[in-house]
């Protein structure tokens, strides 16, 4: 209970600071827009290869770009923790009754909320580009929820790495190291049917792909709700596991003080 209340206080703080520099959210959106608009145009005819479930490549791409964006954002979320560690904000709270859990969870939830806002904006742009979400409002909800879950799963990991290494350079290296491989080992850009066999197998174990599959199911015709449910379940499990990992690394960090 205290943990939940304190998490809320911490999220308010972080969100308020973020809102003071809304340019940040805009900057974070430029990259996904480029993917969506340029890539969507460039590979428009790729759907002729078959297996895309739609003739409109941008419709195929839009939900995946939402997921990709939330994934990339999450890999950077540990930077917030490192800033708070460096500026001794965390230590100040450790000398108070502030819930230890809230210091970690607030970072993860803040990251997920940012992803949700970005998801809505990307969907609006996609809508303007003529993307039709097959499941309507329920589809939008699925895409936003999936974006948040993917984000939480990787944000927990990012927080853990931040707490273990406490170096921005390491964070940047890890983010770059896992970013593109996980992107290309998913069906974000290309239908699974067009992937080599080994990649298809690898994609099955890739949480980014779980998100892409679930979000795309809600956007394309012929929605398979049990597939959405299953992948959402995977993502929840991942989010819980990495949040536990982050909490564990926080205790490890406290022991080094």
């Amino acid at each position: 209970m205290t943990a939940a209340r304190h998490t809320w206080f911490m999220i308010v703080r972080q969100t308020r600071n973020l809102m003071r520099e809304p340019i940040w959210i805009a900057l974070l959106l430029i990259q996904p827009m480029i993917w969506l608009v340029l890539y969507g145009q460039l590979f428009k005819r790729v759907t002729h290869l078959g297996g895309f479930g739609t003739a409109s490549y941008v419709t195929f791409l839009a939900p995946a770009i939402v997921v990709m964006n939330s994934f990339f954002g999450a890999t950077w979320s540990g930077m917030g923790m490192i800033a708070d560690l460096d500026r001794k904000v965390v230590e100040r709270f450790l000398a108070t009754p502030a819930s230890r859990l809230s210091l970690v969870l607030s970072q993860i939830v803040r990251s997920a909320l940012t992803a949700a806002i970005q998801a809505v904006i990307i969907l609006l742009v996609a809508f303007a580009l003529g993307v039709h979400v097959h499941e309507g409002a329920a589809g939008w909800v699925v895409v936003v929820v999936v974006a948040m879950l993917v984000n939480m799963g990787f944000a927990g990991m990012s927080q853990g790495i931040a707490l273990l290494t406490r170096k921005e350079a390491t964070m940047i290296a890890v983010a770059n190291f896992i970013g593109l491989p996980l992107l290309f080992l998913s069906s974000t850009l290309l239908a699974t049917a067009q992937m080599p066999h080994w990649m298809r197998v690898a994609a099955r174990f890739n949480p980014v792909n779980w998100g892409v599959v679930a979000a795309r199911e809600a956007v394309l015709p012929g929605t398979d709700w049990s597939s959405i449910g299953l992948h959402v379940l995977y993502l929840v499990a991942l989010a819980v596991a990495t949040a536990a990992f982050a909490t564990w690394t926080f205790r490890a960090y406290q022991r080094t003080l």
Binding site: H6, F9, R16, R20, R87, E91, R92, F93, L257
Partner: protein, 318 residues
């Protein structure tokens, strides 16, 4: 009432011994100074008392609560103002104070009142709604102190409250702290490596050197314990004899140490000892450039108890 009891704390970080049996007691309502050079173990002691770190051995109590067994009670009873400001640079002064109050369990109108009160107390009412990044060093420090006070703690820890401030801001901070010691019925433990600061602010102090308390008492007591006066002589280069041996051969001289060309001695009465000392040095062929005599300062106290000059003892920061 004893607000802080520290009983032979030991702590090492790898090979470095940070605390080597620190012990002292602080009474409720007093301002207690931990004086020592960087690396002496002051900050580590404060971090143990604030439950930020655990000792390898030893025991400590704050406001009647054991720091290990009852750490959450300690956290409710203390305010901690760290050496490096822990404020959120991107929030306003008021937002920082509100959040600190919220995690300390204050709500609604009470929280609002307390925040206003503190902003007033530390003179930040006008800057309350500005983002902290734009504050001056002195303003940030005052906000730090307000953050430590938000829940009206019984014990306030100030770790190097004036380090990094310019002389003017430091003098202002001393006034603030003196005021604080009066207004709030508060026990304050402050660490400092400024002798003058300990002298000005502390009711009692402990000198810490290499992880141990070497002496504890009021500044007056400590200075009085060094009987007599200190005479400092600057020698010219190329002394043919050992000036320390020459000085100590005199009955009037209790102590003598040589640091480069500076000979420090402790005597009963300066007026009587200076002529004898000068003539003894002269007949030993040691030329003297200047002589000064003064009542013992904390610097002398430090030298006396640690055998080292304060400035020379500044090690790497811990």
């Amino acid at each position: 009432m004893r607000a802080i009891v520290v009983d032979s704390l030991h702590k090492r970080y790898g090979e470095v011994v940070a605390l080597d049996g620190v012990s002292f007691t602080v009474h409720a309502g007093e301002v207690f100074g931990l004086l020592g050079p960087n690396g002496a173990g002051k900050t580590t002691t404060v971090r143990v008392l604030c439950t930020l770190t655990t000792p390898d051995a030893g025991r400590a109590e704050v406001a009647g609560h054991d720091v290990l067994r009852d750490s959450s009670a300690v956290r409710r009873a203390i305010g901690y103002v760290p050496q490096e400001s822990g404020v959120d640079q991107y929030g306003t002064g008021r937002e920082n104070l509100r959040l600190q109050g919220q995690v300390q369990g204050l709500r609604g109108a009470r929280l609002r009142r307390r925040v206003d009160e503190l902003l007033e107390l530390v003179g930040l009412s006008d800057a309350a709604d500005r983002v902290v990044r734009g504050y001056s060093g002195g303003m940030k420090r005052r906000l730090d102190i307000a953050l430590g006070l938000v829940h009206s703690p019984q014990v306030l820890f100030l770790d190097e409250p004036t380090t990094g401030l310019d002389p003017e801001a430091r003098a202002a901070m001393w006034q603030e702290l003196a005021k604080l010691a009066q207004v709030e019925t508060l026990t304050i433990l402050l660490t400092t490596h400024y002798l003058e600061e300990a002298d000005q602010l502390a009711d009692r102090l402990a000198i810490v050197s290499r992880g141990k308390v070497v002496v504890e008492g009021t500044p007056e007591e400590l200075k009085r314990r060094l009987r007599g006066e200190a005479i400092t002589l600057e020698l010219l280069d190329g002394a043919p004899a050992d000036p320390v041996r020459v000085a100590l051969s005199l009955e009037a001289v209790h102590e003598a140490t040589l640091d480069g060309r500076t000979l420090r001695t402790r005597v009963e009465s300066g007026a009587r000892a200076i002529p004898t000392l000068l003539s003894a040095l002269e007949s030993a062929g040691i030329a003297v450039e200047s002589v000064t005599s003064h009542r013992p300062s904390l610097d002398d106290v430090y030298l006396h108890y640690t055998g080292r000059e304060f400035a020379a003892d500044e090690g790497p920061a811990a």
